[in-house]
Assembly symmetry: C2
Homo-oligomer: 188 residues x 2
DNA sequence: CCCATACCGTTGAGAAAGTCAATGATGTAC
DNA sequence: GTACATCATTGACTTTCTCAACGGTATGGG
């Protein structure tokens, strides 16, 4: 259902985590080279066989792939609102009631200040947020969501909750909580 | 130690996972607005206060931030080898002994075929991999690592293991295993 | 055998995202 | 008041992403 444009074919739970303790210092030499015509009828096509590769153990690979899949789906679902998760994150901070400055947004979202400028520009032009000069420091701008902005945020949030539910569909509620907790620990 | 160019300041374990069950359908309205001059000596600057925001619950935000931090550090550590995690992932598949085609690489790494071309071009030019036409399908090219390529891969792998150890330093061995397992489940 | 169709790698172009340096306005410390 | 730091902004540049097209190759049906 939905869009499903992604390339990932089936689901494949992937056993993983088994054998191969922590490190395999010596690179495995290609044992029998080709390994081609050996088993005739065997379908050797699945990409799951690369799960035994070193890269599949890499946290970078895992986070990248998980992120790519999730964001791709989420952005697709948000198309109706003409919004992207990137803009949502800024809007969400603006609607948080925490009165964030652009600098703080950039630091929290790990985005360059110049990127924040562009994102706030966009949201400001569509009337979702306002730039208010901080009276205590006239250099910084406090970004606050407008009525329309909060409305947009609420609608996007609902969509994103559904999207996350899809992205995390293979995880139990307990696992989802664990994942969030673990990611939070390494994200800061 | 090492480079540490990133923007993230301290460590801040972040308690998280506490309260706020699963969903808060209604968007929280800014209760007392400013909350500024209330407590005089209190430093209200920390960005940790945004952890209560909706965006901090988003799996997209968490994976993006975790990924950004990890990859940034890893790329920095790999500078000595003039390599990036992106290239490493291709090299790793080439050195896996699984004889991957470019199409398979792209599918597994969730990269566009055109990006694989560029990455393989790069690795081929520096003599790390070879393009071998698949005798069973002359359209596809099997990418195999050369001796020098396997050597480069081994060295990069050691560096990346250290980098991961740094990135995951706030997690116990058990938690690291959990995280990998959970990410793997949602990455495919 | 010939043909239509699908697939693989490659190229090219353009959008999106990330990185970095410089600047004007403002704040802070001396 | 002067020197220095900080914030938002702009601009340039690189990297990454996305998409469409094209030649060479495979596959299946007539």
């Amino acid at each position: 259902m939905s869009t499903s444009t992604d390339k990932v074919p089936h689901g494949s739970a992937a056993t993983a985590s088994a054998a191969a303790a922590t490190s395999a210092p010596t690179v495995s030499t290609p044992e029998s080279a080709s390994g081609a015509g050996d088993i005739p009828g065997e379908a050797t096509d699945g990409i799951d066989r690369f799960l035994s590769s070193n890269v599949a153990e890499q946290i970078h690979f895992l986070t990248s792939r998980a992120r790519g899949r999730g964001i791709s789906h989420a952005n697709h679902q948000l198309e109706g609102l003409d919004l992207k998760v990137r803009q949502f994150s800024v809007l969400s901070l603006a609607a948080s009631g925490q009165n964030p400055s652009q600098r703080e947004m950039g630091e929290f979202l790990a985005l360059d200040p110049s990127q924040i400028v562009a994102l706030v520009d966009n949201l400001e032009q569509r009337g979702a947020v306002l730039r208010e000069t901080d009276p205590r420091d006239r250099r910084s701008k406090i970004i606050v969501a407008t009525e329309a902005g909060r409305d947009l945020h609420a609608r996007a949030l609902r969509i994103l909750e559904d999207s996350e539910d899809y992205t995390l569909s293979t995880l139990s509620p307990r696992e989802r909580k664990q994942l969030r907790s673990l990611l939070l620990k390494i994200a800061f």
